[in-house]
């Protein structure tokens, strides 16, 4: 700063610095500082110093049970998966340094797409660098200006961003409301392209969509259907194909979007489809074309993990037991939960407000338990949630330990 502009007769700068493009974040900066000034550990700056297993880590110096990861099937330390990654690292190097459509498609990318096609028993599979990009890419590419997207109001950010990028007419309906969805479909002008976007499991409350009814209605109005199964892959349905499989509507769903960063245990995203022209997506989908492809070790671990998940019925059964045990236990302790019964591997505990939620989160962390603190605007109805996501590797005893931690923390904070 030159001396010329720091003269005493200059107006005082407003607190928080001069007004610039960052001024729009002042409210959220104040909210965060307010929370931290109460002596809370920062819920959004947790560091895992060491990861011991899919269910345990050293967090901020403490041995901690992990109940807030999306490692549903516990594949991150599977010996076969790790070995496949090491081999690919040795054979193909650390990265592709290129787009899938140029120099970024290795044997491993094709094998990963083969594994997905077999897993879902579908004709086409396309691997993206993240799940976010899979939604962004597919939605923005197939639904453009003049087309209509009808979607659940509680859809994930990647879905909303895909809608915005494609410039389609966006028509939301009330969460899981079948009638509201039908009314909107009925009013779309004749001849317009229609895409209905649903999620199998909604990750905030852990509730599932009534896909049987919704997909039937979408088809009645001639809409294409895209279902995001990020939180159900590997776990829900007899073959782990998701809520679409559980609801018996695989045949009527045009696109399933998924991710490798949850049950598969690494990172990446994908879309599977039976559409005869699907392969053209590889040339016209910008979030697929204009980014580097996944490293060889990542697609190798993903392919190995996906193939193992096909035979994961015992793990699926144990994960259901865990989810039901935790849900029932928390319910009995008097916590208010996001669903009346366990519908997925996510159990959402509803907090009275953000302050109590943050205090509870911290009390649990000190007990040695990590859960997700979710708060507005990511949450429906401006709720503050402690989201618990179970893993097939949590033992029955661990779930009981977790319930004990919730009981002590809940009483200390005054929630139960």
């Amino acid at each position: 700063m030159s001396e010329g502009i720091s003269q005493p007769d200059q107006p005082q700068e407003l607190e928080g610095g001069p007004k610039d493009l960052f001024s729009k974040f002042d409210d959220i900066i104040a909210l965060r500082e307010g929370l931290l000034s109460q002596g809370q550990e920062d819920p959004f700056s947790l560091v895992m110093e060491r990861v011991l297993s899919p269910t345990r880590a050293i967090c901020n110096g403490r041995d901690t049970i992990l109940l807030g990861t999306y490692n549903y099937m516990g594949m991150t330390f599977d010996p076969d998966v790790i070995e496949a990654g090491k081999q690919a690292l040795a054979d193909y190097g650390t990265g592709t340094t290129g787009s899938r459509v140029l120099n970024g498609t290795y044997q491993g990318h094709k094998e990963c797409e083969d594994a997905l096609r077999e897993f879902y028993d579908m004709d086409h599979a396309m691997v993206f660098s993240t799940g976010y990009q899979a939604n962004l890419g597919i939605i923005s590419t197939i639904a453009g200006k003049g087309d209509y997207i009808v979607l659940d109001i509680d859809s994930h950010a990647s879905i909303w961003d895909g809608c915005a990028l494609g410039n389609a007419e966006v028509v939301p309906f009330k969460h899981n409301d079948i009638d509201a969805m039908e009314k909107r479909l009925r009013r779309i002008p004749e001849g317009a392209g229609k895409l209905v976007i649903l999620e199998g499991v909604y990750s905030m409350l852990g509730d599932i969509a009534p896909l049987k009814e919704m997909v039937a209605i979408a088809k009645k109005y001639g809409a294409m259907v895209l279902v995001d199964e990020a939180h159900s892959m590997g776990f829900i349905g007899d073959n782990g194909r998701g809520v679409v499989e559980q609801a018996g509507v695989m045949e009527d769903v045009d696109f399933i979007i998924g991710t490798f960063s949850k049950s598969v245990g690494t990172v990446g995203g994908f879309c599977v489809s039976n559409h005869p022209k699907f392969e053209i997506m590889r040339l016209v989908c910008r979030p697929y074309v204009f980014t580097a492809s996944l490293p060889p070790s990542v697609v190798a671990t993903a392919a190995t993990s996906i193939r193992k998940l096909m035979h994961g019925s015992n793990k699926r059964a144990h994960l259901w037991e865990n989810s039901k045990r935790l849900h029932g236990g928390l319910s009995n302790l008097g916590f208010q939960l996001g669903t009346d019964e366990a519908q997925s591997a996510i159990v959402a505990v509803i907090m009275p407000d953000l302050e109590k939620g943050a205090a509870m989160w911290e009390a649990l962390l000190k007990e040695g338990l990590y859960v997700n603190l979710a708060r507005p605007p990511a949450t429906p109805a401006n709720m503050t949630l402690l989201r618990c996501s179970l893993c097939a590797e949590h033992s029955e005893e661990e779930v009981e330990t977790i319930l004990g931690m919730f009981e002590r923390a809940g009483k200390a904070v005054g929630i139960i």
Binding site: V170, V171, P172, K174
Partner: protein, 80 residues
């Protein structure tokens, strides 16, 4: 329905959402004056859509900031 009738109808639909009883004019802003948050907007838009059997897409909603603009938009949409 002509513009005046649409105006009257929307005035009655907005009542349960107008918790502070703000006096309505064409310049009344939904975010500023009525202090609608995103959830209220969704419920209110759904009421209007059902009443007039129309779609007000989010793209169209982005252009509607005050009461007068809403009445204009609905008058136009119900004719198309």
């Amino acid at each position: 329905m002509d513009r005046a009738e649409v105006d009257t109808k929307i005035r009655s639909l907005i009542e349960p959402f107008n918790k502070k009883g703000v006096e309505l004019s064409d310049d009344t802003g939904f975010a500023n004056d009525l202090e609608f948050d995103s959830l209220t907007v969704m419920d209110f838009v759904a009421e209007i859509e059902d009443e007039f059997d129309i779609i007000i897409s989010m793209n169209q909603q982005a252009e509607i900031e005050n009461f007068g603009q809403l009445v204009d938009a609905v008058t136009k949409l119900q004719d198309s």
